[in-house]
Chain length 358, copies 2
DNA sequence: CTGAAAGCGCTAACAT
DNA sequence: ATGTTAGCGCTTTCAG
């Protein structure tokens, strides 16, 4: 294994020109006479010369590499964003180094260090750093764009969907279907998206004159595990006063809920409506297909990358929130609230009715 | 945004020592007196010094970065391998740059170039390069390990499961259940794994004295799409002489087949057995849970990375195939061939019986 | 249009 | 134990 050897000097020597000329040709920095250009090209081919990027980077103080910090790759949501980022990077002639953090603050820090060590020119953060100071320090010195999650949008831009409006849309759909007993399966992580979706759920209920019942709010695992969604739904469905609809802040929770309902012999959507969030691929792999909010993951990734390149190359310094369009996708897991009523239902509707009229 | 500035020189000046001493302390290359060490540490803290990796890399001619070349990240199979690689890299103090190729030869080449350009020390290939010459050139000069797919295992090691044995195991399971009409849903890609699984299917049939019927072999899309699996199954199931079992070389094909069977009112596993391959997470998200071959994806990734580090740090040059254990996971999608028979079945069994006895 | 030469920030002899 | 110095391979003034 004889590692890369031929340098610009070798080419210059062989072609009978100076290294400067070779450099100029390779980089297109300034014009080179046709004759020498040809000779240099030829020797580059002959010798199999490839410029050493480390040397170039050191000299130019730029790497053309970006850093991607993300919680994990196995979550399809992140995987699709990643795909968008790598595609945009490829097109822009950048490479991407990946740091998966599992939301561990120590790893988040270690990832961010790449910026200080000069290994990358900028970063895309899909992980809302636990240690905010780390974020503030880094974002004030280096080009950073936040994707999906964010710490602060004033100091570095963030690209995501309008989680509040999306959640309101879904709740409007559920409410419009006549549901009044709508439960929420949220998460015990501290993502801004989680907080916003939860808030929108509450606001929607309140605006509709419905009570926010703490019994109707369950918290799944921080990584949105399918099993924790199932457990939450089981609790909800086996309670004294089960909901007729469940608003899940993640598709995986919706999945778990569907399984739970099946186990309990509850039919969907006839007896129970369930909605998801994100629209990852497996929402349409089995019936009932899940009603959900579609996020443009790939575009989220692409846009984040493009904004970072903008910052890098044009020294743009715009900050703030950039919303990409979401979409309410109505499929098979939600339907009109059943019209034949149990005694319990009747009682509650009377209660709610009076509230709505207040 | 004032990019990283403070250099080793600044630290040396401030601490009143030479750059060499600072370097020695930072790298632990040789011993430094407690007193000066303390003073240097202090100024490093004060100035917020971080060694510039580009300069270090240039000087040491090593980057401590590895390259990951993979077809795409959104496929959970690759995503899990990736997770294993990044974890091992983190532990070894390496970074990983990612190149997704979508199996495009041009991109495969561009990814490999990183080796020649000195941006990375070695590479893990999860994409069996279309242009074999590119592989041979690169593998003869740089440390490379192949994961899952491979071009040649003599020139660079490969880590994967024993696809032949795994497929034989699955076929033995199906055959043991009494199935004689076993179809195959393979893929039209040119992966070695595909070829090997297909061969094992044929060998198993032949050894059992069963014919290899070309009508029973369908080719799904190269990227194992769910929909193409469904289409293949539909063809198989609606034919004159439908199979009683389908051996799918991918879980997604098995998925599509289950959907197809449901659409046709065929019950699983009573009327039809279906087996998958890989054991990606969604094999147990819906009933029937899929009988499949579990691949240790995460371990595949970890092991590949470790082998690469071995090559990098200990200059080991072992090649050859490294098999990790697979597992036949019997779940709900396969069962004994039904015992009540149609006329057609009876006819065929007689035929097969005579063959088996030959 | 081309060449000479000065570094980019760091490590590793080679001295002391 | 510490300092001096020579590059790593490249880009980029500055001259010509």
């Amino acid at each position: 294994m004889n590692r890369s050897k031929v340098t610009i000097k070798d080419v210059a020597l062989e072609a009978g020109v100076s290294v400067a000329t070779v450099s100029r040709l390779v980089n297109g920095t300034s014009i080179v006479s046709a004759a020498t250009a040809a000779k240099i090209q030829e020797t580059i081919q002959k010798l199999g010369y490839e410029p050493n990027l480390m040397a170039r980077n050191l000299r130019k103080k730029e790497t053309r590499v970006i850093l991607i910090v993300c919680p994990n790759v196995t979550n399809p949501y992140y995987a699709h964003i990643l795909a968008g980022i790598t595609e945009a990077s490829y097109q822009q002639g950048f490479s991407a180094v990946m740091y998966t953090t599992n939301c561990d603050p120590e790893r988040e820090l270690e990832g961010i260090q790449m910026l200080y060590k000069g290994r990358v020119d900028g970063a895309i953060l899909m992980d809302g750093l636990r240690d905010h100071q780390v974020f503030y320090n880094a974002a004030s010195r280096f080009p950073i764009v936040q994707c999906s999650e964010y710490v602060d949008t004033e100091i570095a831009p963030a690209v995501c969907i309008d989680n509040y409006q999306a959640s309101r849309d879904m709740m409007a759909h559920l409410l419009g279907l006549g549901h009044t007993k709508i439960a929420l399966i949220s998460s015990n992580n501290d993502y801004v998206s989680t907080k916003i979706r939860t808030q929108a759920y509450k606001d929607s209920l309140l605006e509709a004159g419905l009570p926010v019942d703490p019994e109707y709010i369950k918290l799944g695992s921080s990584d949105y595990s399918f099993q924790s969604g199932r457990a939450c739904a089981l609790e909800l469905l086996q309670s004294e006063n089960p909901p007729s609809a469940i608003f899940c802040i993640s598709d995986t929770f919706a999945f778990g809920s569907i399984i739970a309902a099946k186990e309990l012999g509850i039919t969907i959507p006839e007896e129970l409506s369930i909605s998801g969030f994100d629209d990852v691929e497996y929402t349409t792999m089995h019936h009932p297909f899940i009603t959900t909010i579609a996020q443009p993951c790939y575009e989220l990734g692409r846009t984040s990358a493009q904004m970072l390149f903008e910052r890098l190359e044009k020294h743009s310094a715009e900050t703030g929130l950039v919303y990409l369009d979401h979409q309410l996708v109505v499929r098979e897991s939600t339907a009109k609230k059943k019209t034949y009523l149990t005694h319990q239902d009747t009682d509650l509707m009377v209660n709610n009715y009076s509230k709505e009229k207040k």
